[in-house]
């Protein structure tokens, strides 16, 4: 009987204890719990500060990165245009192929330069002569011993000019009254213009780093 009662009592006490402490903190005193709570709060504060700082950094990086990405993308597009303008990259597009015959060897470098200027005026964006010489801003037309040199490269007739741009406008520019075609015909040659949806300008112009020119400080 006494044993039974003792067991009952023990069970009752155990039950009470159990309901009161169903966690990991049963061994902890109240002061310890408060201390733990306080240090947890402090750690949470510190962590939140770090999170806030990192979030700010991330926002800055994101906007900076985005801006740079846009800048780089724009720069790439500009670079692409510049490679066409400087003749350092091959170019393709609609345009014309012009063939100039010169049976009397009467065509001069000045005639060709004038023809190039007409094409520029008509919006030519990339020009190549005889599939060999890329015509860029600094391309010079000269003569030596009756032969025509374009950027120092001897070009024999018949001359061919490939130009990318509006094929209609370019061809009109060549055959307009008093234009290149008239001029060449006057010299005994013939000019034919062929419009094409795709003209490929393959020859390249190599550039040297400028020695005397500095970008102007703005």
């Amino acid at each position: 009987m006494a044993v039974l009662l003792a067991a009952l009592g023990f069970a009752a006490v155990a039950q009470m204890r159990l309901t009161g402490a169903d966690d990991d903190y049963s061994g902890q005193r109240r002061e310890n719990l408060i201390e733990l709570l306080e240090s947890l709060a402090a750690a949470a504060d510190r962590t939140q500060t770090q999170i806030d700082e990192l979030e700010q950094t991330r926002e800055e990086l994101l906007s900076s990165s985005e801006r740079r990405q846009i800048a780089v993308e724009e720069a790439r597009q500009r670079l692409e245009v510049l490679t066409v303008l400087t003749g350092t990259a091959a170019a393709a597009g609609p345009g014309v192929t012009i063939t100039i015959t010169d049976p009397e060897a009467a065509v001069t470098s000045t005639n060709l330069l004038n023809g190039i200027e007409e094409l520029r005026d008509a919006g030519a964006e990339a020009i190549e002569m005889n599939d060999r010489v890329r015509v860029v801003a600094s391309t010079s037309f000269t003569e030596r011993d009756g032969e025509i040199l374009v950027d120092g490269v001897k070009l024999p007739s018949p001359y061919s000019i490939e130009a990318i741009g509006s094929s209609h406008t370019l061809s009109e520019a060549v055959i307009f009254r008093g234009g290149l075609a008239d001029e060449i015909e006057r010299l005994g040659g013939k000019v034919s213009v062929e419009k094409a949806d795709l003209v490929e300008v393959q020859s390249l112009h190599s550039i040297d780093a400028p020695e005397y020119s500095q970008p102007t400080e703005s």
Partner: protein
């Protein structure tokens, strides 16, 4: 125990003799109990037991007492518990909630830190890309004519003659200017501007109506052509070209102004046009 009354008639009391440490309560209880047993035994002997035996009553009382004590204890605990335990539970709850919160924060922090590192790497790559691109853009921009440049060079001033010689002998034509620019390239010019219009591969020098146009804009004489390049050699090289000779002829025979001056510094504007409508680059430079 010899002085104690020997009451062990009903129940044997083996330990009663010689026990000098029995406390008063125990003694009383034992006596009471013993008395009860005695009474019960006596009753059993006298009557056949129609009323509950005395020891049962005692047991019930003891149980009641125990129950009361247990109840009191429980009551006591239950009364204190809401104060101490509730506070404790709340503390623990707060601790656990804070713990969870901290865990979440630390997870957030870790992924943020990861992300920031990746972004920094990306940005570093972009900056390197950007720098490379900037360098390329600068050197190509100078050559293409999209960038304004400054440097030593020459300044060429040409003007129509003050009076008309023949029909157009005293007037500068577009082809004259074309040849002059062409001769400057030949003489080693790096960048050229005609009346502040940069010469690019897209720039045409034409004659429209009564005036020379550059970049579709009419110019009026005198025309000033500036070029960067070696100021020591360019003037001489220019005059050696066929165009240079032709211009000297024009100067001599038609009173056209043709002045070439070496300069320590000329400023040449850029032509901002950098979009193409038809041509597409095929493969990078």
């Amino acid at each position: 125990m010899s002085d104690k009354p020997d009451l062990s008639t009903g129940e044997p009391r083996s330990d009663s003799s010689g026990d000098a440490y029995v406390g008063l309560l125990t003694q009383i209880m034992t006596q009471t109990l013993d008395q009860d047993y005695l009474d019960v035994a006596q009753r059993r002997e006298s009557s056949s037991g129609d009323s509950p035996p005395r020891w049962q009553v005692g047991a019930v009382a003891v149980l009641l007492l125990f129950g009361l004590m247990l109840g009191l204890a429980a009551l006591n605990t239950a009364q204190e518990k809401p104060v101490v335990a509730a506070e404790r539970a709340e503390l623990i709850e707060q601790i656990e909630s804070n713990q969870g919160k901290l865990d979440n924060q630390q997870a957030t922090l870790a992924s943020l830190s990861d992300e920031v590192t990746k972004l920094q790497q990306l940005l570093a790559a972009n900056v390197a890309d950007d720098r490379l691109l900037t360098n390329q853009l600068t050197s190509l921009g100078i050559d293409a004519g999209t960038l304004a440049v400054t440097g030593p060079g020459v300044e060429v001033t040409v003007d129509d003659s003050g009076y008309s010689v023949g029909e157009s002998g005293g007037v500068i034509l577009d082809s004259d200017l074309q040849l002059l620019v062409n001769a400057l390239w030949q003489a080693g010019a790096e960048a050229i501007a005609v009346d502040e219009h940069r010469m690019t591969t897209l720039t045409a020098i034409r004659f429209a109506g009564e005036a020379i146009t550059v970049d579709y804009r009419s110019l009026t004489p005198p025309y000033i052509i500036e070029a960067t390049g070696d100021p020591d050699t360019m003037p001489a090289r220019l005059l050696e070209t066929r165009a240079g000779q032709a211009w000297l002829d024009l100067e001599a025979n038609f009173d056209i102004q043709f002045e070439v001056v070496a300069k320590d510094k000329v400023s040449i504007p850029g032509d901002a046009r950098d979009n193409l409508l038809y041509a597409e680059a095929k493969g990078a430079s």
